[in-house]
């Protein structure tokens, strides 16, 4: 386990994240310009989508079917598990519980990439069609959690749930992931080979831009560190224990569905991760009573670093054990 952790901690992705964190802690004014940050996240999502589509051509429907089903099971189970844990054990209100559930119900694309890179560096590359599973996991969990929240909440935002669901389905992340999947699939191998060096998630461009993006992720997480006091010990523990549980669940389901060790690890990391791009605005407008400090601090300052630093390596160990 030590060697695994070491490999992970010295990866450029983790080091860049750590640098960003440190830069914020020493109160550097450095940050990525807004449009550069947005441009990078567009590039990363679009690349993941395209590559997923291109790889999908080489996968048989039969091979994808079971892992896809496992992913959909996760999409439904995750928000419910999170919601009930927070309501019953944490004694949180409806809005807060549902709001946090929406974040864990969806997935963090950067965690996905970090996991993909990690298993590759351990010599256990994941299945090529994993981005398809990412796309499947992106939005249903948000829908389910918001529906739970709205149904159980007396005081709504006065805004039809339908509008928010439309927004989630047509959000940037969905357009780029689903659209990229389609474009990558349709363009065919010859066209893909032309742009592959640019978009491939294993290539120098993608990996290099990802480092720069992780710098900013570190800065953003660092910005939330002061909020750790505000969320209290229960949520801090929750932000570590819950991804561990969900990650192991994801690895187990993935292994059951026939994924390789690498694939199961990545699915576990997806299940364990909390969205901080798609979920926050959707929750903000639909469940205005939910406290943003809770869900943002959990997603960005606790669960994201936990997964990237330790969680992924852990899920990999579990996947190895289950495969044996």
């Amino acid at each position: 386990m030590n060697e695994i952790l070491r490999t992970n901690l010295l990866s450029p992705i983790v080091l860049s994240f750590a640098l960003g964190l440190v830069a914020r802690v020493i109160r550097s004014e450095f940050s990525l310009p807004k449009d550069v940050y947005a441009g990078l996240s567009i590039f990363l999502l679009w690349s993941i989508g395209l590559q997923g589509g291109a790889e999908l051509r080489h996968a048989s429907l039969a091979a994808v079917a079971l892992p896809a089903a496992a992913t959909l099971v996760l999409a439904c189970a995750t928000p419910v598990i999170v919601y009930l844990t927070l309501r019953r054990i944490g004694r949180f209100g409806t809005a807060d519980s549902a709001g946090i559930a929406a974040h864990y119900g969806s997935v963090s694309a950067v965690t996905f990439i970090a996991a993909t890179a990690f298993v590759k560096s351990m010599g256990a590359e994941a299945e090529g069609y994993m981005p398809t599973l990412l796309t499947l996991l992106e939005s249903p969990g948000i829908h389910i959690a918001l529906a739970i929240g709205v149904v159980n909440s007396a005081r709504g935002s006065g805004r039809p749930l339908r509008e928010t669901l439309h927004e989630v389905l047509t959000a940037r992340t969905m357009v780029l992931l689903v659209g990229g999947l389609l474009v990558g699939y349709l363009m065919g191998d010859a066209n893909w080979r032309v742009v592959e060096p640019f978009f491939s998630t294993k290539g120098a461009v993608f990996r290099g831009l990802l480092c720069i993006f992780m710098l900013e992720m570190g800065l953003l997480a660092g910005e939330r560190i002061g909020d750790l006091r505000k969320v209290g010990p229960f949520l801090i523990g929750f932000g570590i224990a819950m991804p561990t549980v969900l990650g192991v669940l994801g690895v187990w389901l993935g292994t059951l569905a026939g994924l390789s060790v690498g694939g199961a690890t990545v699915l576990g990391a997806m299940a364990a991760s909390a969205s901080y791009i798609a979920a926050p605005p959707a929750v903000r407008v639909t469940l205005p009573d939910a406290n943003p400090t809770y869900y943002l601090t959990l997603a960005l300052a606790i669960t994201f670093p936990f997964n990237v630093l330790v969680g992924i390596a852990l899920y990999y160990r579990v996947a190895l054990a289950l495969a044996a």
Binding site: Y37, S157, P280, P281, R284, T293, L296
Partner: protein, 100 residues
């Protein structure tokens, strides 16, 4: 230059509200609006934005009544939940009919 007296309402809010606010003010009779992006700080620390502290600044020239209705809606629907501030002031415009 013949000018008419109107009201200018300025609303600063969390970016997630941008689209809803522009719809709201048009529903209350505003004929146009101008939006710029910036950042800010106020009583609510945390915004649900990717970039903390970002804010949109919406301006609208309208009649006194329209501004009052807009303020009323803000106070009711947004002030309790969201980071929103607003202020109103009298302004002189040419072509007053444009804003009614």
């Amino acid at each position: 230059m013949h000018t008419v007296s109107m009201r200018l309402i300025t609303i600063v809010a969390e970016p997630v509200l941008a689209d809803r606010l522009t719809h709201d003010i048009q529903r209350h009779g505003a004929t146009g609006w101008t939006l710029t992006e910036g950042r800010g700080s106020g009583s609510r620390g945390t915004h649900a934005e990717e970039v903390p502290g970002s804010a949109v600044r919406l301006e609208c020239v309208a009649t006194e009544e329209a501004c009052a209705r807009i303020l009323g809606e803000l106070a009711e629907r947004y002030f309790p939940f969201y980071g929103v501030v607003a202020w109103v002031m009298p302004v002189d415009v040419v072509r007053g009919d444009k804003f009614v």
